[in-house]
Subunit: 430 residues, 3 copies
Amino acid sequence: MADASNTGGEMYGLVERLYPLIRSITGDGVRETFRLVGEVTPLEVHEVPTGTQVLDWTVPPEWNVREAWVKDPSGQVVVDVRDLNLHLFGYSIPIHERVPLERLQEHLHSLPEQPDLVPWRNSYYEEAWGFCLADRVRRSLPQGEYEVCIDTSLEPGSLTYAECVVPGRTDREVLITAHTCHPALANDNLSGIAVAAYLARTLRERGRPRYTYRFLFAPGTIGAITWLGTHQQDARRIDHGLVLSCLGDTSPFTYKRTFTGGHDIDRAVEQVLRERDAGTALDYYPYGYDERQYNSPGFRLPVGGLMRARHGTFPEYHTSADNLDFVSPTALEESLEMLTTVVDVIEGNERHLSLNPMGEPQLGRRGLFRSLGGLDDPAGTELALLWVLATADGQHDLLAVAERSGLRFHTVRHAATLLHQHDLVSPIER
Amino acid sequence: MADASNTGGEMYGLVERLYPLIRSITGDGVRETFRLVGEVTPLEVHEVPTGTQVLDWTVPPEWNVREAWVKDPSGQVVVDVRDLNLHLFGYSIPIHERVPLERLQEHLHSLPEQPDLVPWRNSYYEEAWGFCLADRVRRSLPQGEYEVCIDTSLEPGSLTYAECVVPGRTDREVLITAHTCHPALANDNLSGIAVAAYLARTLRERGRPRYTYRFLFAPGTIGAITWLGTHQQDARRIDHGLVLSCLGDTSPFTYKRTFTGGHDIDRAVEQVLRERDAGTALDYYPYGYDERQYNSPGFRLPVGGLMRARHGTFPEYHTSADNLDFVSPTALEESLEMLTTVVDVIEGNERHLSLNPMGEPQLGRRGLFRSLGGLDDPAGTELALLWVLATADGQHDLLAVAERSGLRFHTVRHAATLLHQHDLVSPIER
Amino acid sequence: MADASNTGGEMYGLVERLYPLIRSITGDGVRETFRLVGEVTPLEVHEVPTGTQVLDWTVPPEWNVREAWVKDPSGQVVVDVRDLNLHLFGYSIPIHERVPLERLQEHLHSLPEQPDLVPWRNSYYEEAWGFCLADRVRRSLPQGEYEVCIDTSLEPGSLTYAECVVPGRTDREVLITAHTCHPALANDNLSGIAVAAYLARTLRERGRPRYTYRFLFAPGTIGAITWLGTHQQDARRIDHGLVLSCLGDTSPFTYKRTFTGGHDIDRAVEQVLRERDAGTALDYYPYGYDERQYNSPGFRLPVGGLMRARHGTFPEYHTSADNLDFVSPTALEESLEMLTTVVDVIEGNERHLSLNPMGEPQLGRRGLFRSLGGLDDPAGTELALLWVLATADGQHDLLAVAERSGLRFHTVRHAATLLHQHDLVSPIER
């Protein structure tokens, strides 16, 4: 896994450090996660107390784990959360008792069709306890009495989320978010966390962007609900948004459109996918990750989802096979590069008015065009100059020019800049 | 033909009883038809006097037939309306004379390319007489003088049509209509008459529907013109309509869209066709049956046409081969079932507003969702719950939810009902 | 080339006479061109002085050529504009001197990949001189000193363009234009000039058309710019327009749509292409010929482009192979016929209101329909009658009826005329 650039390697390193932490929708594992992410880009960490009403939901008790294991009748440890944090059924209540195998079985979760993999399971809002293990191990358990120890706390505390805001020239926002509640699942979603963190770092290192970028790291569902419930005014400033998940595997990209589709974020991502032949776009569907909350009828924020392998459809999904071997520095690097290009499109997607709209301006005398006539192979920038001039009616943004012309956005953007420098077009405020 | 349910058999029995009646656009055959249909569902029968101006048309004289036959030179009966009512050219004026074969030929109609079939022909608005017979028989006629007897009356009387209105919770109407003017043609349109009659009976037996359903049995063209000319205010209450014809054969369904397409009736029928992979939809064209009148520029009522085999395109069309063997109880039953499902869609196609539009409501605590997290195979109702919640913005009717989600309408409808019961959505009046 | 009708032959004859003239964007060759075109249809010739500001451009000096040749070291003439007017680089400044081959090479233009063809090159707005020749000849030039003689004048004068206006019943205009600046290139654009001239003659010989037709013969780019700059009010009267080029070769037609597409001129040309299976339509792109000027943001006139072989894509393009053998009387004739049909569509494309909109009118009693019922093969005019009646709501023009019905425009137009004669529909003014 040493084949990628430095940033890919750094992102992979972050994923490695986050992997063993015991994360859930609350708890110290989340706080430690944010401490490590904060080494990449500064985070503002927020704590929302248990019991806080957020929209239709209530912030649940905080869950922390000290130890959790099962010993077989001979005293041998069968599963231990320290070996793999997926082993402990998420939000398990504390318990320490001896139970016969038959009763233990009611609390075990495994995957008969993937007998070597440990599944990930949890129950946040109904009290339960349990362990997840490989079906092959489960089937080998001898009869007898087992000692079960789950030393957890499920008590009033808080839900923790973190933000990194990169201020722009306007207060209109681009929301980039990744869910932080999954334990040792490298692609879903340590990859999304890592790519978001390094995108934030990249943007901070550049000059002030046009838009304000808000990076939100929060647990799935309850985290987005909590943020929306406590930031209803801020939410109205979101012009574009992306939910990042599963960005470390080697599949082509999958873009999930906003509820209506056709928003600038949809067009931007689809343009970049098309230019690179890098994947496909799917219409919105109301399951998946936190795009569900942002796109709900009362918000309808233009927030799409960017993934590589699509959640729920790859065999490693929500199992122990979504481990450090399933993600790579190269894939993380490609994902970051994809996102920075999307940001470039959003930033550069302006509308223009021609300052010389009647007929074509004479490009030749401005040094913008070949002076030798009679040829007819306008290519690259020259073609883009003609397209931008032809469409500079205030109706077409540069994405529309790229979509219509088949030229790359970057080429179109460059032509618009040249024409602006020659006072032939003027960008208009929206 | 004993393979269908009781209702299919009953509809087939009605077709059998209607088959021998001498029907045309007026006359006692029509009245007897309505008497028999009235045994299935109560009908209000209307008589419109000859000479009544209806829109651009005039109600023609009433036509009745006592006997009609031709004897060959040897006195042998060659054709007799009593054997098959198609034999008599429709609206033949009375005549009783002896004519040589050559002159008789000018009044005979046959199908050289289908030499064993008797065609159906008529002339309602220009005086004429004639007989229809198999081309094979026609070609075997010996030279000589023939005795022609057409004992008909073509006199002031009335045009007869019938209605069955099933009142709904609103006075907005669904029009279901079938033409009643064709004689012994089983598919076109005894099948349409039978299915309409049994659909009316089905609706009467249910609780009060949302819409008022008007079943109209009337002769083609002049009947629809007469109804429209005398019910211009009523016509404005029609929100959805279907012209039924050719519903007893075994072809897949053919739906003919309204003039513009995209009306709720179009979407409802196309949804059911799609769910069942039961046939295809065609854009509107201005020939066919009475949809022509309802869709004319001055009315533009949203009335489509439902058929199985498409009129004018099957070899049995308008011939003696469209007989009792060409239709079956099973096919009639399927057609009725198709229509009741379309009615269910129209009835259930409401728009909803989410009562908890900001973010998703917590379904788990309401017992509407699996409490066990970490899985991601939302199926059936659960998926439909999410779709209805995501679209409950007052803009999407449930058909739109079905169209967009790919779920069956019934599943979507069920989810909306559940959500309404839990006070999560509210249907809105249109 | 004697296989076409008389008009095809006449057009070809005009192309032959125009071929040897030394044409450019200004000069006596253009004037002589208009004198010859004026023999076909009367032209109003306009002179716009050098230095006139037109939109963003300035009318350039006038260029005239007396002689231009190169002699090799042995005194042998290597290229001479009198042999082929492409030999002289367009707008070459006057020069008469002796130069070594190496320096001469900097002023020579040839096509290494088409070594037997002479290219066409020019430089209107930057001073330059040069010769164009076959690469095979160029490569055979011996070392030594060459005598170069370019006896041209590049002085204040004027730009010449010509118009032929065929007045119509309204002052709304159809613009038909062809660029006149290319020298010995038969397809591009002597074919366009010839077809435009004969279309003008055809329209003048007919009765007064509905629209006013303006035929504009002007140099490419600067000519259109000059006309637009001096006719900004007139330009607003253009409802439909076509730029004609490359209409003498044997390729299928290529139609280039207006900027937005969907204008009546787009629909008319595409309808005729479809009816004849005569070619394809392409979306607008901002390079090509003078449609660029008419469609620029400040004008956005509905002007499309009609070609056969598409400019810039055929191997003969802008070379000596675009000669009299490359075009044919038959192809010119077909192009003229195509255009007259497009004109017929534009002229006949009216909207109608039914005068009997409620239900269908009774066509039978008006002799407009078969009186014999029971058949169902409505064809040709009868079908068109039904379509026109069904769509006579003031929303559908006859092109829409043809598009929707699949009938030929001519058939639909004929039906509308019949219905108008029977007072069943009335055309409405737009």
